[in-house]
Amino acid sequence: MSPIGLIATWLRALLTGWFRAWHIPAVFVDILAWIVGGVVILLMITLIALILIYVLRKVAAYIQGRIGPERVGPYGLFQTVMDALKLLQKEDIVPAGADKILHTLGPVVFFFVCTMGYLVIPWESQATIARQVDLNIGVLFLLAFSSLGVIGVLMGGWGSNNKWSLLGALRGAAQMISYEIPMLLALVCVVLMAGSLSLEVITEQQKALGLLSWNLWKPWLWLPMILFLITAAAEINVTPFDIPEAESELVAGYHTEYSGMKFALYFLAEFSNNFLVGLIFAVLFLGGWSSPFGHPDPLYLPEFLWLVGKAMVVVLFLMWVRWTLPRLRVDQLMALCWKLLLPAAFVSLVIVSIVGLYL
């Protein structure tokens, strides 16, 4: 049992005891546990987003020969905290003629969808307070919610009553829906080899020999892996594929008209999405929570640390790509998806099916 699992179990036992003493039905223990789990996940997402924004700015600065934030706190570590506090006290502006309901719901839906993805991530081998059941359709769940994100983007873009927002939202919708398909096919390849849609099972299969048993080393999964990286980058709108936001063309795309906490929600969701992609990649190809030095972990580190560390490596790689490649044009983006990635995804599906049959 991991330390977090232990704390969770202890808390649960404590609450059950208290509630019995106070004659409150045991259902409320579950409800409280869900609320606590949700709050923990939300806090973690906020924290990760704050860290990622800082890391992103530092990486960008170093790649461009600059220094980056360094004034607020040691090495500028509190810069993003201060930015968040600043956003908290900013005025919340709703533009004239905007659809107030859609304008408000847009960031909420987008953020909600982003957080849902975190529910199915197998943080540890044992069930923890945040994820009590092993969802046997984990991959399907992730895909379903990642395609729902488009609705949040569209709501924000349409509700803002602004041409830049609308253009950005429409581009975003076109891009996210198109890239959904090769991404799904790439994931299906992994699922085919694992024989299960559960992220937990996919992780379990990679833990035996540590580093060596990762899906990363299976040549027939290389094509799906590259496809997943490309399509996931497109799905979360990072730079070679950031045309929904395209600062040089669309001001800020679908969140042009947002300010204050609504903007912060979009921003937060974007970075949590970024990290979610890292997590999914780590689970699918880098062995998830399993230690790279074999099972059981010779270092006795908490399992979720391995997962977070691997995800960070993937996120850093995405940042590296982000500050290297220029933005694609809209027609290039669509051509890349439908003419290249989609056929490649089908080819890789066929290859993986054949390998799966004879292996």
């Binding site: 990486v59 220094i67 051509a335």
Partner: protein
């Protein structure tokens, strides 16, 4: 992605390989840049390096060089050449005295208008006007950007000789190549 309609499958594979190679080259370059030291000069902090100076040739706040033997205690002969040559018309001089006694009664420079082109310093026949390496000139009100005779005189006391024109010119372009990062 060019010429998609008449490309053969092999040519398409070639294009993909070329694209992948160029991405790798780009990643390589950014990776090298990541580990290079930054070219940025940190804005000098009082606690860090109190004696930090900008590079030679930096053109900052203005100063009038003092000369105790002349009336007004300044070298300036109020010939108005700097006022006339200034492209921004930011120098306003009120002269006083006749002949060798001529000196400025008031000398105003609007630093908010000035573009630091150095023409006034270059044109000065007695090398009385100069720009100093003082870089902290920001204020909260535009009126405060107008330098008066007293301010220029005070600053001039710290700089007995004007910055060399040649030096200011040459050093602006001749930063040592090892300190610059060409790409």
């Amino acid at each position: 992605m060019r010429k998609q309609d008449d490309t053969t499958f092999l040519a398409l594979l070639g294009l993909i390989a070329e694209g992948a190679r160029s991405i790798c080259v780009g990643l390589h370059i950014t990776a090298i840049n990541f580990f290079r030291p930054s070219v940025c000069e940190r804005y000098p902090r009082r606690d860090g390096k109190p004696d930090w100076q900008p590079r030679p040739g930096y053109r900052g706040d203005f100063a009038l060089i003092s000369d105790a033997e002349r009336p007004g205690g300044l070298r300036c002969i109020a010939c108005l050449q700097c006022q006339n040559i200034c492209p921004d018309k930011c120098i306003h001089i009120t002269p006083t005295g006749k002949g060798k006694e001529r000196h400025p009664k008031q000398f105003l420079i609007d630093a908010g208008l000035c573009m630091y082109c150095w023409l006034c310093v270059e044109v000065c026949p007695v090398a009385a006007l100069t720009m100093t390496p003082d870089y902290e000139t920001s204020t909260d009100r535009p009126e405060k950007l107008i330098r008066t005779l007293e301010q220029l005189r005070e600053r001039g006391k710290e700089y007995p000789e004007p910055l060399k024109v040649e030096m200011a010119r040459a050093d602006a372009t001749s930063v040592a190549p090892t300190e610059r990062r060409g790409d």
